[in-house]
């Protein structure tokens, strides 16, 4: 009997190599767990009955294209779409023998912070099913927490890997922009989108990153990693300088229980020998969210123009072509993509471009410079990942702006193209609190070292209390 609730990918792989279980037995154990717990949690939009390969299983967010396996991006407009080619990241999983368990739920086109924007219904948080798992990659994060996958791929534009990992109590990495191929991914905001790993441990997260990272000829924005990925071995963080940006740690809306857990973890970092110091990101936090909510919708309005009912996806009945486009898009898109298409089109339209999109691109430079300056003094920055623990389903759906604030603390580093790692650092009101570590571009190894040391020192139990 394989207990998928506690199994890490590393342990599953050890079972396989030591001959304790076959690839099929491990795969079947996860399918069984999905059969038992997914009707309640709705982590998956599609479950594979089988998938080729000799290795251990993995779950893949439904914005990531998979040959022969439906890929909907949580949207009705892609219902029934089955890609005829694999995304590069999935090719790389397959080259290592990894077997896809299924496609995980997401807010429509990865636009959201709770999975409540999914056209196929929300996922539920394994710690408390009346609460959201975060988003947009809530399906991947909830699946890993509930033992419905040993690890998973997510995608992150403004926090869609880190925030759900924080709310579900597992480890998520948003990699440095350009280190992971976007070829075959359903595009949202191309200058921000990055695929990354979700796992139960920092070591699993680092290993999965090493599988997917590196230059891809099919994505000209990718680069080769300047140094190989190091899966952390020990807990030595002596000499690493960690900055605590005041604005990211004291922003309005951060719950006291979140602050308390993160402060305790920062104290542990000092005990472990890291040098901790105060610092400031005065403009990045204040202007990050408005900057993001101009640039991301502008890019989305352009990327989502391809859904026109001509080549793939949903098509509405209409006698005339313009009517066909308009009705296809009206019936196929949900509320949030529509809002973002309208905001983005407006921000890019004649007369408003300079004031909105052009100005936001300049703010982006300011945010990047502010971070660059801090990395002259610090190796990494620490803060909460999310201002709050998992919130109740329905709590923020009526007010788009309240939902947007869920990503207040993850957005600034995304705008600067920086890597960020979220690890669980404790509980508040019985729900997981995520700690965010941000580094300079290509500093994933530093984040893994710090994250691994903290993970060992904290000893957080990633299995939701109600499932133990």
């Amino acid at each position: 009997m394989i207990d998928t609730l506690r199994l890490t990918a590393e342990e599953a792989n050890a079972m396989l190599t030591q001959g304790d279980a076959s690839s099929d037995e491990i795969y079947r154990a996860y399918l069984d767990a999905i059969g038992v717990r997914d009707p309640e949690l709705h982590c998956y939009l599609h479950v594979c009955e089988n998938d080729g390969g000799e290795g251990i299983p993995i779950a893949v967010k439904d914005v990531i294209g998979t040959k022969g396996i439906p890929t909907t991006a949580g949207s009705k407009i892609l219902e029934g779409y089955t890609p005829v080619y694999d995304s590069t990241v999935v090719e790389r999983l397959r080259a290592r023998g990894l077997r896809i368990l299924g496609k995980t739920n997401t807010d429509e086109f990865a636009m959201g912070s709770s999975t409540e924007n999914s056209a196929f219904g929300p996922s539920h948080n394994p710690w408390d099913p009346s609460r959201v798992p975060g988003g947009s990659g809530g399906g991947s994060a909830a699946a890993v927490s509930a033992g419905l996958a040993p690890w998973a791929l997510g995608s992150d534009t403004g926090g869609s890997i880190k925030q759900p990992s924080a709310l579900c109590g597992n480890v998520g990495l948003r990699p440095t922009y350009g280190t992971v191929s976007r070829y075959g991914i359903v595009a949202f905001a191309s200058s921000l989108d990055q695929v990354g790993p979700v796992a139960r441990t920092v070591r699993d997260c680092a290993f999965l990153y090493s599988v997917i990272a590196g230059r891809d000829e099919c994505d000209s924005t990718t680069v080769e990693l300047p140094r190989p990925v190091e899966v952390p071995q020990d807990e030595d963080v002596r000499g690493l300088r960690v900055g605590v940006p005041k604005e990211l740690n004291e922003a309005e809306g951060i719950e006291p229980g979140v602050t308390e857990a993160v402060r305790a973890a920062i104290a542990k970092l000092e005990e472990l020998g890291a040098e901790v110091g105060e610092c400031s990101l005065p403009l990045s936090v204040e202007y990050g969210m408005p900057c993001y909510y101009l640039i991301a919708p502008a890019e989305a309005s352009s990327n989502l123009a391809r859904y026109d009912g001509v080549r793939y996806g949903y098509r509405a009945d209409a006698a005339e072509r313009l009517e066909m486009y308009q009705r296809t898009r009206d019936e196929g898109f949900g509320d949030e993509p529509k809002r973002r298409i309208l905001v983005g089109t407006y921000a890019l339209s004649a007369g408003y471009y300079d004031a909105y999109y052009g100005q936001a691109q300049k703010v982006r430079t300011v945010i990047k410079r502010e971070h660059d300056a801090l990395f002259e003094t610090f190796d990494a920055l620490v803060s909460p990942t999310s201002p709050t623990v998992a919130f109740p389903l329905g709590a923020r759906t009526a007010d788009p702006l309240a939902m947007y604030l869920s990503d207040l603390l993850t957005i600034p580093s995304c705008m600067a193209g920086l890597p960020g790692l979220s690890i669980p650092c404790g509980l508040s009101e019985g729900l997981p609190v995520g700690l965010q570590l941000v580094g300079p571009q290509f500093a994933e190894n530093t984040l893994f070292r710090l994250g691994h040391a903290l993970e060992r020192a904290i000893g957080f139990d990633t299995v939701p209390e109600r499932l133990r």
């Binding site: 001509v310 308009q326 529509k338 982006r364």
Partner: protein, 96 residues
């Protein structure tokens, strides 16, 4: 800056989105809330700051002009809502 009904319908047309009569009032309110929030970027004087369109300092690259495997016609048409022979079929219409 605020968006009114007429502008909303104009932008929706640019984006080829049909906006139903029942949605207009709600969308107008939500879009104005969002625009008010994002307009905060105009508080900063950034006349001397260059824009960032891409977070990495990379330069354009050209692929070698060599044939590589690509989709077959059947693969390219596999998800077509409607096809005729080797073509995507769409309803008639002159101006769109």
């Amino acid at each position: 800056m605020a968006i009114d009904r007429e502008q909303l319908l104009h932008v929706a047309h640019l984006a080829r989105l049909e906006v139903g009569e029942h949605e207009i009032e709600r969308l107008e309110g939500q879009l104005n809330d969002i625009l008010a929030a994002v307009s905060k970027v105009s508080e900063l004087d950034l006349s001397d700051v260059p824009p960032t369109s891409h977070p990495l300092e990379v330069v354009n690259v050209s692929a070698a002009d060599e044939p590589r495997p690509c989709l077959t016609v059947e693969e390219a048409l596999a998800n077509a809502p409607e096809r005729e022979g080797d073509f995507f079929k769409v309803p008639p219409g002159g101006t769109a």
